[in-house]
């Protein structure tokens, strides 16, 4: 039973960190893709959307190759900072973040594209600098669209299985998240454990969806 709670807490920790990373990067990338004109923009959008359509195991394999101790990135991280991503919960965070990333930056891009340029002009004439305009006008107006994507991404990260298993493995108490624990329990024929884990997972998902409804209130903000 304790193992179930450990797995749940680990899942929440991994999904939480992945969502924080995606929130920051998703807003930045979504904004850049919506507002900046640069060569390779469409290609970048396509590459970043890949995690949505590629099998998670393939992504996990890429990450293994990229972050393993034998790759230049993995070796550099280990030699300079002593960081080892493989078979750690931090590696699971990276895997979950990448898998869920399209769910954040796509809606963010759409929300920024839908923005009303005139409101930004109004703020400019009122003397507000460009960074101030972003945080005071652009972001608040795009926020509801972004938030919807962020909550979906959190749910997606919570349920992440394939890439996480490839990168972080299934070490109980260390990298064994809820969804992996379910798989292990079924494999080991521990039906009771599996039942508990599945019920916990379902309950958590319902709570997340209810929270999503609460966090995006139907306040009238349209002009």
């Amino acid at each position: 039973m304790d193992a179930a709670w450990t797995a749940l807490l680990l899942s929440l920790k991994v999904a939480g960190w992945a969502t924080v990373i995606n929130l920051v990067l998703g807003i930045a990338v979504g904004y850049a893709l919506a507002r900046l004109r640069f060569p390779g923009r469409d290609l970048l959008d396509t590459l970043l959307t890949l995690p949505m359509v590629m099998p998670p195991t393939v992504l996990g394999y890429y990450l293994l190759v990229l972050m393993g101790r034998r790759s230049w990135l993995g070796a550099w991280l280990y030699d300079n900072f002593g960081i080892n991503m493989i078979f750690t919960w931090q590696g699971a965070v990276i895997a979950a973040a990448i898998v869920a990333f399209p769910l954040v930056f796509k809606p963010a891009r759409a929300a920024f594209e839908a923005g009303d340029g005139q409101l930004e002009q109004a703020a400019r004439v009122l003397g507000i600098g460009e960074i101030g305009i972003f945080f005071r006008v652009t972001l608040p107006l795009a926020w509801r669209g972004i938030l919807a994507g962020v909550l979906l991404a959190f749910a997606r990260a919570l349920g992440e299985f394939g890439a996480t298993l490839m990168v972080a493995g299934s070490i109980p108490g260390k990298t064994q998240t809820l969804s992996i624990a379910v798989y292990e329990a079924v494999q080991a024929g521990q039906d009771g454990v599996a039942n508990t884990l599945v019920l916990i997972t379902s309950a958590v998902c319902i709570v997340v969806l209810l929270a999503a409804g609460r966090l995006a209130p139907g306040r009238i903000v349209n002009r």
């Binding site: 400019r124 003397g127 600098g129």
Partner: protein, 233 residues
């Protein structure tokens, strides 16, 4: 010289191109530019506000050079201290009336708190009879109230000039008459120089100490029109 504007700008969209060539020198503090839509009125006004950059020429307001292509001066919109009233007011939909009015007074990265008190904001809320709706959002306001909020927001930072883009076009006819006289009285009281662009001759009659016509990007009739327009009133 109150306004000294001499700008050229070419816009291209596919095969079509539009040439703006606007000259205006005036000591009047009430200027109306009248012309049909697509004649370049908004473009001229936006150039003065610093929202678009002319290809060449200069813009001086009250003796301050805001733009001069030859000497490479191009003040950012933020630094021009002119107020711009957008045609549909461009009120921030996520901020209440008080926050909208105080928007320009709060510098930095954060919006004013929704009950933040500021003497200048209170003054303008009172002056425009908006105190009762100070906590409402723009979508909850009537057309006249929206315009008053936009005006209060524009005036609260004591601009050196007021630029009005079709200020009455979004109002119904009865309200238009009321708001016109309100703005008229306000401008006389504050003595803030203004340029108003419109396609409505009635606006020109009420406000035009000097009326200029803009057609297909070029200003046609200069100061001559002001006498007749004033007499017609």
């Amino acid at each position: 010289m109150q306004f000294d504007i001499d700008i050229r700008k070419t816009l291209r969209s596919g095969q079509r191109s539009f040439h703006l060539n606007a000259q205006l020198r005036s000591d009047s503090s009430r200027i109306v530019i009248i012309g049909p839509s697509g004649s370049g009125k908004s473009l001229t006004l936006k150039a003065v506000a610093g929202l678009i950059e002319p290809d060449s020429g200069h813009i001086r307001v009250g003796g301050n050079t805001l733009f001069d292509a030859r000497s490479g001066i191009d003040l950012a919109a933020q630094a021009r201290n002119v107020a711009y009233l957008f045609q549909d007011y461009a009120l921030f939909p996520h901020l209440n009336v008080r926050q909208n009015v105080g928007f320009g007074l709060a510098r930095g990265w954060f919006n004013p708190r929704n009950s933040a008190s500021h003497a200048a904001v209170d003054y303008w809320l009172d002056a425009f009879h908006l105190a009762a709706v100070a906590h409402q959002f723009p979508c909850e306001l009537s057309g006249g109230q929206r315009q008053r909020v936009a005006l209060a927001r524009a005036l609260v930072s004591r601009p050196q000039a007021l630029l009005l883009d079709e200020p009455f076009a979004a109002l119904d006819p009865a309200l238009r008459v009321i708001m016109r006289s309100e703005l008229d009285a306000l401008q006389r009281r504050l003595q803030v120089p203004m340029i108003l662009i419109t396609h409505d001759p009635e606006d020109a009659r009420v406000f035009g100490d000097q009326v200029l016509q803009l057609r297909e990007g070029a200003i046609e009739i200069g100061a001559v029109a002001l006498e007749t327009a004033a007499l017609a009133a």
